[in-house]
């Protein structure tokens, strides 16, 4: 796509951020162009071509733009710049470094470099001269915030190459030549530590993409215990506003077992991004003992930033994720919220006067979403190492209606569904994931089941299923009680209901703002689940339904105190003893 003579054009029409440009040469779909408005260049992307008219979506406000303004086409699609120094950065949707921008307000056409070109990196070669390498092959390594950042053969390179020379261990800047490769035709190609990649294309620098087989620990009990997500898996969290989507997403990104966290704040509240900016640099990373921010990259396109860049932001995040996955790292990618991205597509489709699908969304919405989710996954790299991108997106269904197009399309693409329930949120039962409606397809994977029996315990899955049954039976019992009245049903109905409440209060509900309760290790989850199920299996002698209520409330209270105590600490054990004393008093002889 590189052309010698760049195509130019002139603005011929303006409708909000949709601009029509009359061009004098070839243009490509999704090609990037710059419109020269007064002294600033406004970046835009081609989204439709009709004859000599290129329809472009401008990533900035078009205020003041005039007919006849010149535009230059760049000959490539929207690209990310990949190299050491991405971690702990705050980017906008187009990968501009937000921290190096001047002033309080975002200025149009203020495009900043994603990387620091002056930083010296300690480079260590991994490949030897004479090695045969293909795209994604590891040439060397630098230490990026204690992460082994691999310098690779650029993803754009096709075919195989022979390494002619590579620099010695030492300090280099990102733009320094670190290797020379020879292609199949015998031409020398210079390689630096920086490469570019078009965001809308999937990086395919891996050998194989197996089915995910390993659960990813998130520390959130209702996920890990009942509906686990797999490493390299996909999940989505739909929920009406106010049901705690963002709190849940933040909790997962803080705690999940990942090397790299990429957060795409897509069309959401600026204050939520500020919360990440403020908290993550302070939070200790339990895995490395360093700060969480050091392994996190944030792509922030908040709801008041230009709409077209919102669409780009999720792709930018995914491409960065793929880059780190190719280094053999475990990446957790969070997008909040994919509905805003879909709305950006809708706004543009509307301006293009395309025939709309349901709720005025574009017809190919479902295909676009599936395609995006399919870029996540667990991979075996060409050198036998493994890497993964686990992707969790939130969906903000209009009116809380889960039948709307974005939720429906995402349901087809994602393997885990964590439905947030308004009723649970209203009664402050957080996280408000409805454990009965939610599902994880991974629980059905034999690979995952095998992993559990080998690594957690061989009775684990059995217990999970029992817990799910108790929840379901409890819900039914509750409905019966509501219809027939407290004394219109057998005491066993009350027991059934309170058994499910016990699981709800002790396992499902979790205090994201408590330093201990917020994150639970799988070991502790296994212990607590066994403990709770133990109570549900006991037979008690209740004379009256009110006894059931009082008894379980006391039990729950003690369990909660346990949740608030360090695992197996003296305090924890003290409550455990109290608990056993309490229920042994009520045991049926």
């Amino acid at each position: 796509m590189e052309q010698k003579n760049k195509t130019t054009g002139k603005v011929a029409g303006i409708i909000a951020n949709l601009v029509i440009i009359e061009v004098d040469g070839p243009v490509a779909q999704n090609e990037i162009c710059f419109i020269k408005h007064q002294e600033t260049d406004l970046m835009a992307e081609v989204i439709k071509i009709l004859g000599d008219s290129a329809y472009v979506q401008v990533f900035e406000s078009t205020r003041g733009l005039k007919i006849g303004t010149e535009a230059h086409f760049e000959g490539h699609m929207l690209e990310v710049t990949l190299g050491p120094g991405i971690l702990s950065r705050n980017y906008d949707g187009l990968q501009n470094n937000l921290d190096t921008m001047e002033g309080v307000f975002l200025k149009r056409g203020d495009y900043t470099d994603p990387l620091n070109r002056e930083t010296l990196w300690d480079f260590k070669p991994l490949a030897k001269e004479g090695d045969t390498l293909i795209a994604g092959g590891w040439l060397g390594e630098v230490n990026e915030n204690e992460m082994p950042h691999k310098i690779m053969v650029p993803f754009k390179f096709e075919g195989s190459y022979t390494l002619k020379s590579i620099v010695k261990e030492g300090q280099y800047k990102v733009d320094d030549q670190i290797a020379v490769l020879v292609d199949s035709k015998g031409n020398d190609v210079s390689v630096t530590m920086v490469q570019k990649w078009p965001v809308k294309m999937a990086v395919r620098a891996y050998a194989e993409k197996p089915r995910p087989f390993k659960p990813l620990e998130t520390g959130v009990r209702v996920i890990d215990t009942l509906n686990p997500i797999a490493e390299g898996g996909t999940g989505f969290i739909p929920g009406p506003f106010g049901t705690g989507k963002t709190v849940l997403q933040h909790a997962i990104s803080k705690q999940a077992e990942a090397d790299i966290v990429v957060i795409a704040a897509c069309g959401e509240r600026a204050n939520e991004v500020v919360e990440i900016f403020t908290e993550f640099p302070e939070l200790d990373d339990p895995r490395t003992g360093r700060k969480l921010m050091e392994r996190t990259t944030i792509i922030a396109n908040t709801s008041n930033m230009p709409v077209a860049a919102r669409e780009a932001s999720v792709y930018t995040a995914m491409a960065i994720g793929e880059y780190y996955r190719a280094m053999g790292l475990r990446v957790l990618l969070m997008a909040d919220s994919t509905s805003r991205w879909a709305q950006a597509l809708r706004e543009m489709s509307n301006r293009l006067e395309e025939l709309p699908g349901q709720d005025a969304f574009p017809m190919d919405l479902s295909a676009i979403i599936s395609n995006f989710y399919s870029r996540a996954g667990y991979v075996y790299l060409n050198n036998g190492e493994t890497g993964s991108i686990t992707f969790i997106g939130t969906v903000s269904p209009a009116g809380g209606n889960l039948k709307e197009p974005v939720t429906e399309s995402t349901r087809k693409a994602a393997r885990c569904f964590y439905g947030l329930s308004q009723a649970r949120a209203d009664s402050k039962r957080y996280p408000a994931i409805d454990s009965i409606d939610s599902y994880s397809k991974y629980l059905e994977y034999p690979e995952v089941q095998k992993y559990y029996s080998e690594n957690v315990s061989d009775t684990w899955l059995e217990k999970v299923i029992i817990a799910k049954d108790i929840l379901l039976r409890g819900k039914e019992a509750h409905e019966q009680i509501n219809i027939l009245g407290d004394d219109g049903v057998l005491i066993s109905f009350h027991e059934r209901f309170w058994n499910s409440e016990l699981i709800d209060f002790v396992i499902l509900q979790q205090d994201a703002f408590d330093s201990i309760d917020s994150s639970t290790s799988i070991e502790r989850q296994e212990y607590m689940l066994a403990k709770v199920l133990d109570v549900t299996e006991k037979e008690f002698d209740f004379k009256h339904f009110e006894d059931v209520q009082t008894f379980f409330k006391n039990i729950i209270n003690l369990f909660k105190q346990m949740n608030y105590s360090d695992f197996k600490s003296d305090k924890f054990k003290k409550y455990e003893v109290e608990l056993e004393e309490l229920y042994s008093k009520h045991l049926k002889n």
Binding site: I67, M101, F105, F277, S303, N304, P356, G400, D426
Partner: protein, 440 residues
């Protein structure tokens, strides 16, 4: 908006619709304003030489040979300290009979704040209303609407909040405000002796609806002046945002755009976000806090306007008439302030979060008990006690006429707990129990 030298004047309009006119013109910038037959218009579409203008006050009576003068800039406001205490219309022109404001000219609808230049909202705004301070504390830099039925006293509550909050400036953006409500605000602010820190931009029901579209941007441009240039704490009141959104749908409809849900434009989310996201806390201490009103039709929050608003704002406040006590209360179930976590328990007493949650849980139990009673079932002793608690809680804390300090609210809550429940039923962390549960 006077004529100036060297402005191109056109006098041939080709198309006229209810809200737009189209003409052939050159050198016109997007978003630029123009005077069309003496009325203000704004460029919304340019295709080649054809320029489409949206005329804010409607096109009634505009002839095809009307004079069109392009001003060469987007809508603007003059900002300076002289704004304080004044009343303006949607165009920023004084309506209080006072002189023109002198000051720096600023374009309205300016760019957003770079998110990395924001500070985390951290300053509690005390209102004395327990339904807000105890359960849904507000924080500077927050944006939160009242979701209210048209017959609820939302403007009164909002005026109370505005006056009790320690803001340096209060900016009222009134959209489709009835003349009575406009005078209500004027009187309340006047009687409180607060007029000199109040600035109002008002579009009443007597003015054309599309003019309303300018009101939030005018109010927020003024707010940004005081928050950024003067480092002041600014509180912006926007009422009623539903009427603003209705004006958006009128315009998009007349521009032949394909409507999405509830005949609202597909860009509704972005349009509302652009306004609400102006709420900000600056590291320098200046802040803009937005309290808005979104009226509901029949309490339906799934309608596109409240629904999109809910996804943008940091919570929402619901008012409800509690028939048991005959007062309007702040509904503890449906109301939510997302930023309360940043201040409760740290800027307020440490037991605040747990007391708040326990009280709401018990209040929910009372609601269940009430349903049981209405369905003719026997109540347990616990049910009876929750209902006693709920009534007291509603009356002493949730009612909008409450005006006490947060510490007092917490003490009242503890007393209600102790009067009605056992420790296990309340279920609060032991350390707080030890401290606040009075020994028998």
């Amino acid at each position: 908006m006077e004529k100036q030298a060297f402005q191109k004047v056109y006098a041939k309009i080709t198309n006229i619709t209810k809200a737009t006119v189209q003409l052939k013109a050159q050198g016109v910038g997007y978003d630029e304003i123009a005077m069309v037959h003496g009325r203000l218009g704004q460029v919304v579409k340019i295709i080649g030489e054809n320029v489409t203008l949206q005329v804010f006050s409607g096109t009634e009576g505009i002839p095809t040979n009307a004079e069109v003068i392009f001003m060469g800039h987007p809508p603007r406001l003059k900002v300076s300290d002289q704004l304080a205490g004044r009343f303006f219309n949607a165009y920023g022109e004084p309506i209080d009979g006072g002189p023109e404001v002198e000051g720096e000219i600023r374009d309205i609808g300016s760019p957003s704040v770079n998110p990395v230049r924001r500070a985390q909202p951290s300053q509690l705004i005390a209102t004395g209303i327990a339904g807000i301070d105890l359960n849904n504390s507000l924080v500077t830099g927050q944006k939160i609407p009242f979701f209210a039925d048209p017959d609820q006293p939302y403007n009164q509550v909002m005026a109370n909040v505005a006056l009790r909050a320690e803001a340096d400036k209060i900016i009222l953006g009134g959209m489709g405000l009835s003349n009575d409500d406009y005078l209500f605000f004027k009187n309340v602010f006047d009687n409180a002796g607060a007029l000199d820190r109040i600035i109002s931009f008002v579009n009443t029901t007597e003015n054309p609806p599309v003019e309303r579209l300018l009101v939030p941007d005018m109010a927020l441009t003024a707010a940004e002046y005081f928050a950024v240039d003067k480092n002041e704490k600014v509180l912006v009141l926007l009422t009623d945002m539903t009427l603003f959104a209705d004006a958006l749908s009128i315009v998009s409809n007349r521009m032949d755009q394909i409507p999405s849900k509830d005949s609202m434009p597909g860009s509704l989310y972005s349009d509302l976000a652009r306004i609400y996201e102006k709420a900000v806390q600056f590291p320098s201490g200046g802040s803009i806090t937005i309290i808005a009103v979104t009226t509901l039709s029949g309490g339906d929050i799934t309608h596109a306007i409240p629904d999109n608003t809910g996804y943008i704002t940091e919570g929402q406040l619901f008012l409800r008439r509690d028939t048991d006590i005959g007062k309007v209360i702040v509904d503890p179930f449906r109301s939510l302030s997302r930023l309360k976590q940043l201040v409760i328990g740290t800027q307020t007493r440490p037991d605040h979060p747990q007391v708040m949650n326990a009280a709401i849980r018990l209040y929910a139990d009372a609601a269940n008990a009430k349903t049981k009673m209405e369905n003719g079932f026997d109540l347990t002793d616990y049910d009876e006690r929750t209902m006693v608690f709920a009534k007291e809680y509603s009356d002493k804390l949730l009612a909008i006429d409450v005006n006490v300090d947060t510490e007092v609210m917490l003490d009242i809550s503890w007393k209600l707990f102790q009067d009605n429940f056992t420790k296990a039923e309340v279920g609060i962390k032991q350390e707080f129990m030890d401290k606040h549960w009075k020994k028998e």
